[in-house]
């Protein structure tokens, strides 16, 4: 599928439409889809003002950016100098950022227009957007079902046609899984491809920034703008991302992760994934069944490493320097304890306390160190598979979108929704969810493609082929 973003930019530049008309259309769509609760805030005046500036530049014949006039939304854990940045948590309810995230700045430099901020699980802790302090987002296809998460608002904003692309963040599947649940493309780049400066930190060793889009080509375009060092995030590689324009057919070896095609996986999901695999074989690719025995431990590793890291990262929310301070606090201990108690959602508290548990004295070696060693074993297995395969393929999630409230009483059951996305996160691999079909009841299903570290451009070129199959 061709780029929806390029089509909009070309139409604006040729005068068939204007940036103002596109922004008005997006704001109207946001309002029409209000009941989905994809967005926490819209910036009508600022966005229209920015659109007028870009339209004026075009009228004067001046050079405009690659995203001239294209409206977008950012997950509300991206710091923006416009409006609020809440991370969907009470403790940041009134927070107005003094800086823009690097991703926001780079999109602005290309004349994209931020029209609003998207809902998420508070602090990106969750897989359904039900953990938002401001209420859940509804699935774009079925109102009774979850949006997925944690970038649920971003995925729904794109799926509902409000904007052609949205920014998300992915720590263990938070871009790919909501992409799959709503029938849009969700791309998690290699760890370290895009700066996280100005994104509310969750787990620093797996957090990445990425786009949710309608087409793979759009994911490529946005990523091309975001990639590369900014001097603010020391984990970022010098820009290696070079989109592949030569679309000449190549034959790849593709490994089917069979551990994710059997027990516990919804039959419709298996069937739709198998259909993609069959079409790849017909298209001349070599398909192999491969095994990732460490996959069954990936969630256990993840739920040690990630809580450990986020319990440290969330220590900064103390009600002292910014954010909401409890008005009941009489002592400094109360300032911390009561502000954090009122400001965090139950899932935030759960994860922070698990982090404290696995890092606490006497447990560090048994849990945190053990998990980091197990992580090495998982990475070794991936490396071995990539000796013989160009790409790996498996479902993005074990089921289509589940019902709102279905998993909220059992945190472990909720965590299982991430079972297939977490391995690539722990290994820092690029992975993308591409819509591949529907369940019998019409719910979107995504297929996940995983590549070698830094093979992002090749992965996206391959994903374009999968999208066309």
């Amino acid at each position: 599928m061709t780029s929806l973003i390029n089509e909009i930019v070309n139409n604006i530049k040729s005068g068939q439409t204007t940036a103002r008309a596109e922004v008005e259309k997006a704001l109207r769509a946001a309002q029409d889809n209000d009941e989905l609760h994809a967005l926490l805030e819209t910036f009508d005046d600022e966005a229209l003002h920015r659109a007028d500036e870009i339209d004026a530049k075009i009228r004067r014949g001046e050079q405009v950016g690659r995203l001239a006039g294209v409206p977008y939304v950012a997950k509300d854990n991206f710091l923006t100098t416009i409006g609020h940045t809440t991370a969907a948590a009470k403790i940041l309810e009134n927070f107005e950022s003094p800086i823009d995230a690097t991703a926001i700045e780079r999109l602005d430099n290309e004349d994209a227009i931020l029209i609003g901020k998207a809902n998420l699980d508070a602090f990106a802790h969750g897989g359904s957007t039900e953990n938002s302090a401001f209420g859940p987002t509804h699935n774009a296809v079925d109102f009774e079902r979850v949006a997925g998460g944690s970038s649920g608002g971003s995925a729904v904003a794109v799926a509902a046609g409000i904007v052609p692309f949205a920014l998300g963040s992915d720590t263990g599947g938070s871009i790919r899984q909501p992409g799959s649940f709503n029938g849009v493309v969700g791309y998690k780049p290699t760890y370290g491809m895009i700066s996280r400066y100005g994104v509310v930190a969750m787990a620093s060793s797996t957090d990445v920034v990425g786009p949710l889009t309608r087409t793979v080509e759009d994911a490529e375009l946005v990523s091309d703008i975001l990639a590369g060092q900014d001097g603010h995030d020391s984990t970022v590689h010098d820009n290696y991302f070079q989109p592949i324009t030569d679309n000449s057919q190549r034959s790849y070896t593709i490994g089917v992760i069979k551990d994710f095609m059997g027990e516990g996986v919804d039959a419709d999901v298996v069937n739709q994934t198998q259909a993609v695999i069959n079409r790849l074989e017909q298209a001349g690719h070599t398909v192999r069944q491969v095994s990732l025995p460490m996959a069954k431990y990936a969630l256990a590793i993840y739920y040690i490493v990630v809580p450990a890291e986020l319990s440290s990262n969330l220590a900064r929310y103390d009600g002292v320097r910014y954010g909401v301070r409890s008005d009941k606090a009489k002592s400094l201990d109360d300032v911390y304890g009561l502000s954090r108690s009122a400001g965090f959602m139950p899932e935030n508290k759960r994860r922070i306390m698990i982090g404290s548990y696995v890092l606490s004295s006497g447990y560090f070696d048994a849990y945190y160190l053990k998990a980091q060693k197990a992580r090495t074993l998982l990475i070794n297995e991936f490396n071995k598979l990539f000796d013989e395969c160009d790409f790996l393929i498996c479902p993005t999630a074990p089921t289509p979108a589940f019902k709102l409230g279905e998993n909220t009483s059992d945190p472990l059951k909720m965590y299982l929704a991430d079972a297939m996305t977490v391995p690539a996160s722990l290994a820092g691999l690029p992975a993308i969810s591409v819509p591949c079909g529907e369940s019998d009841s019409g719910l979107p299903i995504g297929v996940q493609l995983i590549g070698r570290q830094k093979d992002d451009a090749k992965l996206l070129a391959f994903a374009k082929e999968v999208e066309r199959l």
Partner: protein, 94 residues
């Protein structure tokens, strides 16, 4: 795996979160279940394995040693819930 209420109280103190009794109880159950789940890593022999603490292989990422514009003191103080005389104010500590 069960986690006692005292252990949960200790974790809450380490985490600087004040919790109600009902929260403590439900967290004891949840944390017990989750710890039970993550304990399955015990099945793995990791004695000879090096831990992975970072993924990029990057070392010593330097930037030029030059001063860049920073946020003003005023802007940052404006974010604080309470201030006095250009300082962030908290309840009496000593």
């Amino acid at each position: 795996m069960s986690v006692s209420l005292d252990e949960v109280r200790h974790l809450a103190a380490l985490s600087e979160i004040q919790l109600s009794d009902s929260e403590l109880e439900s967290l004891a159950t949840d944390i017990g279940n989750i710890v039970g789940y993550i304990n399955q890593l015990d099945e793995l022999d990791t004695d000879q394995v090096e831990p992975t603490f970072q993924l990029t292989g990057l070392q010593n990422v330097w930037r030029d040693d030059k001063i860049e514009p920073q946020l003003s003191r005023e802007k940052l103080l404006n974010l604080a819930p309470d201030t006095e005389n250009n300082q962030v104010k908290v309840p009496k500590v000593l």
